[in-house]
């Protein structure tokens, strides 16, 4: 269970408050107008940006001061999810051991993860030799290996076409189901939210609201969301 306890996030004129709980294993979309603070909210949860006040708790444990790499989560950014100068295998190995050594047992696990992600035999390639969809698969394979209880997606599939994006969301759903992962996904596309996330956190007007049912939220959007959706 992820708890955002009276968080206040400030950056210049920008201000966002969040006081909410996300149940373990939930799949939650984070939607709202541009500039509302969706990515910033994820940054605070991941530990890249410090909130002005309030706490972030995971299963009741305060992780507000924890280093990003030590938090119980994996995060995929919009881009730069792989080190371009390392092979796919080395990139995945960093998910198992940040010291960078690749043990023999790790190799088997990495190979399995590659197969799971549909990248069989591509471990020796550099990210630049993969297509955009394959790069996303590799990043997901690393998240699979890390097997952290939370997965934060900050629009990592925004650059992919609709068919590829649907494929990736399917892969995320599969991983989340198997590992019981709690998923938080920022999205610009309400259809992504409907497809993957039964629940949605609406970020608008300086507030991140507690999760609500995605279908009914999108079918009956409040004014702030309606303007954004243009429906």
């Amino acid at each position: 269970m992820l708890t955002l306890d009276n968080l206040i996030i400030e950056q210049g004129d920008f201000r966002l408050s969040a006081d909410l709980t996300i149940p373990a294993g939930a799949r939650v979309a984070v939607i709202g107008p541009s500039g509302a603070g969706k990515s910033t909210l994820l940054s605070v949860i991941a530990g890249f940006f410090a909130a002005t006040q309030g706490r972030v708790l995971w299963r009741g444990e305060d992780i507000t001061q924890t280093d990003p790499g030590a938090r119980p989560l994996s995060i995929l950014f919009q881009d730069q999810n792989l080190f371009p100068h390392l092979s796919v295998t080395r990139n995945l190995a960093l998910g198992l051991n940040p010291a960078g050594k690749v043990a023999a047992t790790d190799r088997t696990r990495i190979e399995t993860a590659l197969i799971r992600a549909g990248l069989e035999g591509m471990g020796a390639r550099k990210p630049g030799q993969l297509s955009g969809g394959q790069q996303s698969r590799a990043a997901l394979a690393r998240a699979l290996l890390r097997a952290r209880p939370m997965l934060l997606l900050d629009e990592p599939f925004a650059a992919l076409g609709p068919a590829l994006k649907a494929e990736m969301l399917g892969l995320v759903a599969q991983i989340a189901r198997e590992q019981g992962t709690t998923v938080l996904m920022v999205s610009h596309d309400p259809e992504d939210a409907r497809a993957l996330c039964p629940q949605t956190v609406l970020v608008a007007d300086g507030v991140a609201l507690p999760p609500q049912d995605t279908q009914s939220l999108l079918d009956h959007p409040p004014p702030s969301l309606r303007a954004y959706l243009g429906a």
Binding site: G47, F48, P68, G69, S74, Q80, F83, A99
Partner: protein, 516 residues
């Protein structure tokens, strides 16, 4: 907190060593100084000469560079790219080699004077103030040309297309596009060259001297070597630092352009209408031909006389070569060990960048004088000659290496810091897997520059040398001093070849190590 302290510890150590070298030697000098009253009239003349020769050198370099840069920008000809690349070469050209080449061309027995004598004209002298300034223009004309050319290339080509569509000719183009650019670029170029010329030592040592062409750096050397007047050397050292710091503070208000690496800008196609008619073409041809001749003839003269003499070099040249190579490589390593942690920390801590720039306020001679004063009570300072040369060379290269690394590190941080910390990649693993591979190219380039600077340096070694301990530039200087000109030409060729080979090899190594 502990993690944060561990993160900046390498930079703190590197910064402390560098500050000790720069500030520690300065403090030693200050304590020893007998006050400014210890200065003589000749020293005041040296201060005056230092300032006006630097100003005049910078002015001439910039003024001459404008037509050359304009010609390079609006003409396309075979060898243009090569010429632009060669314009970067004086940056690492050993001063003593250039001086040898200039003497070969403009000296008493040079072919300019031979030609003048043919017409019964009095010979020109390459020695004295005009010689010092000629040498400074030789070194800085290419620098100024590259900076100004960079300014021209920074004007978007759409702007030139617009100018052509509005029916502009060369005059309107100059007024609307080029003069505003020059107004923006020239102050920075002038100051950059002025700063370099302020600490000129080797040029003044070889071509200057006497009451009318002595720089402060040379006066420090003379007070130290010939008069054994430590108090005066110390006073002069403080004057030198005061001049440099003042000039740097003024320069900090003007954005200094990067002094290396203007590109070839292949995408820009000159538009004939803007480039003018036959008169402009003739002007451009003359500018390029004269500049190329001025820059290339001295180097050609070195090789013409030196290459045949390579097989006939005295044994002392070979031992000096070995010494120089070892010092160059060791000081390159020292440069990187200090510059990399400071540059990595500098993106977050202002003090790290300031510390890395400290050596710009120092001069090799001031550091040398300070080290001599510190060491003298304990050991024979001449035994410190080579270590001091190594340390000062390394320190003086740190600002350059830091400036080359910083923008690349900023990019690296922007692109991969979040990913690295989300994966908990840190310490040695981060250095090995992320930092070093991504920085291979700028590290190779920095290493190449540091090695070339060190290889060609003729500074501290002249203070300390007992005549037996010598680097290759010093050996060349000694050969020139005893008028063994053929051997000197051979040594100059050897030094030139080795300097550029070192630069090229290290720069290539960086490209080779780059996993991209």
């Amino acid at each position: 907190m502990a993690a944060r302290a561990r993160e900046i510890a390498p930079a703190a150590v590197a910064g402390a060593v560098l500050a000790a070298l720069v500030i520690g030697t300065l403090v030693a000098v200050a304590i020893r100084a007998g006050g400014l009253s210890g200065l003589r009239t000749s020293d005041l003349a040296a201060i005056r000469f230092t300032l006006w020769q630097a100003a005049l050198s910078a002015l001439l370099s910039c003024a001459l560079a404008i037509p050359v840069a304009r010609a390079l920008h609006r003409r396309r000809f075979a060898g243009r790219d090569l010429l632009i690349s060669l314009m970067g070469a004086p940056f690492i050209l050993p001063v003593i080699v250039a001086v040898f080449g200039l003497i070969a061309v403009f000296g008493r027995r040079g072919f300019i004077n031979a030609a003048l004598a043919h017409f019964g004209i009095e010979p020109l002298s390459i020695y004295g103030a005009q010689g010092v300034i000629t040498a400074h223009v030789f070194f800085n004309l290419p620098l100024a040309t590259r900076m100004i050319l960079h300014g021209w290339q920074a004007i978007p080509s759409e702007r030139f297309r617009l100018a052509a569509s509005l029916g502009f000719g060369p005059t309107q183009t100059a007024r609307q596009l080029e003069r505003p650019m020059l107004r923006a670029v020239l102050p920075g170029a002038f100051l950059a060259i002025f700063l370099v010329c302020l600490t000129s030592f080797a040029v003044a040592l070889t071509l200057g001297g006497g009451p009318r062409a002595t720089t402060v750096e040379l006066a420090i050397y003379q007070a130290f070597r010939f008069d054994f007047d430590m108090g005066r050397a110390a006073s002069l050292a403080l004057v030198q630092v005061a001049i440099s710091v003042t000039a740097l503070l003024i320069a900090a208000r003007v954005t200094l352009p990067a002094s290396f690496g203007a590109g070839h800008d292949r995408s820009f196609a000159p538009i004939a209408q803007l480039s003018g008619g036959a008169a402009h073409t003739a002007l451009d041809v003359a500018a390029i031909t004269l500049a190329a001749a001025f820059l290339l003839t001295p180097i050609g003269a070195v090789f013409a006389r030196g290459l045949p003499a390579l097989s006939n070099l005295p044994p002392m040249i070979w031992s000096a070569t070995a010494t120089s190579l070892i010092i160059a490589l060791a000081s390159t390593i020292a440069t990187l060990i200090v510059a990399l942690p400071l540059a990595l920390a500098a993106t977050r801590h202002r003090w790290a960048e300031i510390t890395a720039m400290l050596p710009m306020t120092a001069s090799a001679l001031v550091m040398g004088t300070g080290a001599f004063l510190i060491a003298r009570p304990f050991i024979n300072p001449t035994s410190l000659a080579l270590p001091m040369v190594l340390l000062t060379n390394a320190a003086l290269s740190v600002p350059f290496a830091t400036r080359i690394l910083l923008p690349e590190i900023r990019t690296l941080r922007a692109d991969y810091d979040r990913l690295a910390s989300s994966l908990d990649l840190r310490g040695i693993a981060r250095l090995r897997l992320l930092t070093l591979p991504r920085l291979a190219r700028p590290l190779g380039f920095s290493a190449g520059l540091a090695a070339a600077f060190s290889m060609g340096d003729l500074g501290v070694i002249t203070l300390f040398s007992d005549g037996q301990t010598r680097t290759l530039p010093l050996a060349l200087f000694q050969l020139m001093g005893s008028y063994r000109m053929d051997q000197a030409a051979g040594a100059a060729s050897l030094l030139l070849i080795l300097t550029f080979a070192l630069f090229w090899a290290l720069d290539r190594l960086g490209h080779y190590a780059d996993p991209r």
